[in-house]
C-alpha cells in the first residue's frame, strides 16, 4: 500500500505545485521518486519528528499542502503536541501519513506498532482520520485527502495487501462504502484488516449467514447514517479493527449508536485487548493470535449471532 500511496502522490504532485513532503529520515525505497522529481518540495529533516511537524505546519500556513510521513507511531505520538497545538488548532493543511497501521511491522516490536493511533488522532479537533483498507481505497484516499483543505491523518498499510474492492469505488471522506448487502448482521471494519473481515463474511455466506459488510475508511468524521441504517436493518453490529479496543472504530460506532438512541442493537467489537503486544511475529500471525484471522472473525460473528437465533 505504501507503494501505491507514493506513486499516487507523485502523480498528483506533478500537477499541484503546492504539495511538499517533509520526512523524518524514513521511507527508503519508496520516497525517492518524489525526492528526485520535486527536490525543491522535498525535505528530510533528519530524525526529528517534532521539527518535521512544525516545519510542515509552517509550510502549510503559507498556502501549501505539507505531508509528514514516517513509520507507525513516529509521526503521531512523538510529536502529538505539535499536531494538536500547531496543526489542528491552526487548521493547517498538513497530512500526517503513517506507514504500517496496526501491527504491520509486527516482528519489530511494540515501538513499531500503531494500535492506539485512531483513538488519539480522532480525539483531536479538526482532524480527519482515514484508514484505507486496500490498494483501491488507498489510491482514492490520497486524492480525496489532498483535495480536502485541513489536517488529515492517513493510516497507510505496509505492503502486499490484498484488494477487497473490485474495480472503481466512489470514495468520499466521511462516506462509508457498503460492500455486501446482508441483513443478518452488519460488519463494519476500518483499515487493512478488512480483507480478513471480507473473507470471514464469505465463509459465513457458505453456511447461510448473510452479513452486510461496510468499509468505514473514514473513522472521523464517521458516517453515522450508514451505522444507524445498519442497526435498524440488521439489529446486530460487529466492528473489526487492527487497533486496541479503547477509543478506536468500535468506540466511534458505539458513540453513534448511543447518541442516536439505538440502544437495543446487539454490538460486538473485535480488536486488540488493550495491551502492549510484547509477542512478536508477522502481521498475519499476530492477527491470528488475537482472534483477527478470517476464521476467528467468522467464528466470533457466528457465536455472537447464536443469541439472535441464527444457526
Amino acid at each position: 500500500m505504501r507503494g501505491i500511496f507514493n506513486k499516487t502522490l507523485v502523480d498528483l504532485a506533478r500537477k499541484d505545485k503546492r504539495i511538499f513532503m517533509v520526512l523524518a529520515d524514513i521511507g527508503y525505497g519508496e520516497i525517492e521518486p518524489f525526492a528526485e522529481n520535486f527536490p525543491e518540495r522535498y525535505y528530510n529533516v533528519g530524525v526529528a519528528e517534532q521539527n518535521m511537524t512544525g516545519i510542515a505546519c509552517g509550510i502549510a500556513m503559507e498556502g501549501n499542502i505539507a505531508i509528514t510521513y514516517s513509520i507507525a507511531n513516529f509521526p503521531t505520538l512523538r510529536c502529538l503536541e505539535q499536531i494538536r497545538n500547531d496543526v489542528c488548532y491552526h487548521n493547517a493543511n498538513v497530512k500526517i501519513v503513517i506507514i504500517g497501521g496496526g501491527v504491520a511491522y509486527g516482528p519489530l516490536g511494540i515501538s513499531h506498532h500503531s494500535t492506539e493511533d485512531i483513538a488519539i488522532m480522532r480525539a483531536l479537533p479538526n482532524m480527519v482520520v482515514i484508514a484505507p483498507s486496500d490498494l483501491i481505497e488507498a489510491e482514492a484516499a490520497v486524492t480525496a485527502m489532498l483535495e480536502y483543505n485541513g489536517p488529515v491523518y492517513y493510516r497507510c498499510g505496509y505492503k502486499n495487501e490484498k484488494n477487497i474492492h473490485r474495480g472503481k469505488i466512489d470514495f468520499k471522506i466521511g462516506k462509508a462504502i457498503e460492500i455486501t448487502k446482508g441483513k443478518d448482521a452488519a460488519v463494519i471494519f476500518t483499515g487493512t484488516i478488512g480483507y480478513n473481515a471480507k473473507t470471514a463474511i464469505d465463509m459465513l455466506q457458505t453456511v447461510g449467514i448473510n452479513c452486510r459488510l461496510i468499509s468505514m475508511h473514514t473513522v472521523k468524521p464517521i458516517d453515522a447514517d450508514v451505522i444507524v441504517k445498519a442497526a435498524e436493518e440488521t439489529g446486530y453490529i460487529i466492528t473489526v479493527e487492527e487497533h486496541n479496543l479503547d477509543g478506536g472504530l468500535g468506540s466511534a460506532v458505539a458513540e453513534v449508536l448511543a447518541d442516536t438512541g439505538n440502544l437495543n442493537v446487539k454490538f460486538k467489537r473485535i480488536a486488540f485487548p488493550n495491551i502492549n503486544i510484547s509477542r512478536i511475529g508477522s502481521q498475519e500471525w499476530l492477527r491470528g493470535e488475537y482472534s483477527m484471522s478470517a476464521e476467528a472473525i467468522a467464528e466470533t460473528i457466528r457465536n455472537s449471532l447464536k443469541g439472535k437465533g441464527i444457526r
Partner: protein, 295 residues
C-alpha cells in the same frame, strides 16, 4: 509645556506615525512606545491577576523596535501576503505583543482591557485569532519549527518577506528548538531571524542553576548560525542588529539580546517570582511611574 501634556503630545505623534505605518525616527519615539507597552502589560496582568509580567517587560524594548521600525506589516491589512512574519515562541509573553499591536492600530486598545477576563478577546498565551498575530503558541519549543517552515515556504515562493521568531531561555531547553536550529543552518535559511530574549531566568530558577547555555552565542555559531549579541534594552543596538539582516549571507541569524527580567520595575527586576506574580494594586501606580522614566 507641562510634562503630562508633553507626554500626551509625544504619544499622539507616535500614535499617528504608527497608524500611518511610517517608520519611527528616533529613540524618543521608541521610548514613548516602550512606555505604553510596559504600562499596558502591568495593567493587563494586574487586572487579570495573571503571571508572566517579568517576561513581558523583558522583551518590551525589542518589540518596540520590531513594531516601531523593523517589521514590514500593515495594520490596515494584517494578512497582506508580503508582510514580514513574526512568531512569538514564548507565547506566555503575549500580552506585550497584544499591547504593541494595539498601539500600532491592529485592533482597538480597549481590547487590552479584556485580557485574561471571562469571555475576553485576549488570552493569556498569544492567539492567532487576533489581528496581526501570526501564530498561536504557549507550549515552548513550538515557534521555531513553524518559523522555519514559513522560511522554507517563502524561499520556495521566491518571496522577499522575512521571518522573525522571538524566543525565551526556556524555549531553548526544548529539543524541538534544537532540531529546528540544525535544520535552519543545514538549509541556509537566511530569511529567518531568531531573537532570544536572554534574561537568564526560567520558570523555576536562574539558568546557571537549571540549564546553563553559556557560551550561548558560540553554541549557536557552532551550529551554523550567524550570531550578534546585544543589549536588549538599548534601542540603537537593537535597531542596528536588525538593519543588516541577514547578519551573514546564507546563514540564519540570531540576535542574542541580553535583557533583564522585569525590566523597569525595580522591585521585581531579575527575580524568579516575576514569572508568576502580578504587580498588586498597592504597587501599581509606582510601577507605572517607574516604567515611564526608563531610558
Amino acid at each position: 509645556m507641562p510634562l503630562n501634556r508633553l507626554v500626551g503630545w509625544i504619544n499622539m505623534k507616535v500614535e499617528s506615525q504608527l497608524k500611518r505605518g511610517i517608520n519611527m525616527g528616533n529613540s524618543k519615539d521608541y521610548k514613548a512606545l516602550a512606555v505604553k507597552i510596559r504600562q499596558h502589560c502591568i495593567r493587563m496582568t494586574n487586572r487579570g491577576k495573571s503571571g508572566h509580567v517579568g517576561s513581558m517587560l523583558s522583551m518590551a524594548d525589542i518589540l518596540t523596535v520590531l513594531y516601531g521600525k523593523i517589521l514590514n506589516v500593515d495594520p490596515e491589512n494584517p494578512e497582506w501576503q508580503e508582510r514580514d512574519r513574526f512568531i512569538l515562541s514564548k507565547g506566555h509573553g503575549g500580552a506585550a505583543v497584544y499591547a504593541a499591536l494595539a498601539e500600532k492600530g491592529f485592533f482597538p486598545t480597549e481590547w487590552l482591557d479584556t485580557y485574561y477576563m471571562d469571555n475576553g478577546k485576549l488570552s493569556g498565551h498569544i492567539s492567532h485569532h487576533i489581528p496581526g498575530v501570526e501564530f498561536s503558541t504557549g507550549s515552548l519549543g513550538h515557534g521555531l519549527p513553524v518559523a522555519v517552515g514559513m522560511a522554507v515556504a517563502a524561499r520556495y515562493a521566491k518571496s522577499g518577506y522575512r521571518i522573525f521568531c522571538m524566543m525565551s531561555d526556556g524555549d531553548c531547553n526544548e529539543g524541538s528548538t534544537w532540531e529546528a536550529i540544525m535544520f535552519a543552518a543545514q538549509h541556509r535559511l537566511d530569511n529567518l531571524t531568531v531573537i532570544i530574549d536572554y534574561n537568564r531566568i526560567q520558570a523555576l530558577g536562574h539558568m546557571e542553576d537549571v540549564i546553563e547555555m553559556e557560551p550561548f552565542g558560540k553554541k549557536l555559531e557552532d551550529f551554523g548560525w550567524a550570531v550578534k549579541e546585544i543589549d536588549g534594552h538599548n534601542y540603537d543596538q537593537i535597531e542596528e542588529s536588525m538593519r543588516g539582516l541577514p547578519l551573514i549571507k546564507n546563514k540564519p541569524s540570531c540576535i542574542l539580546a541580553r535583557t533583564v527580567k522585569g525590566k523597569g520595575v525595580s522591585s521585581i527586576e531579575n527575580t524568579v517570582s516575576c514569572h508568576y506574580k502580578y504587580i498588586s494594586d498597592d504597587k501599581l501606580d509606582e510601577a507605572l511611574r517607574e516604567v515611564g522614566k526608563l531610558q
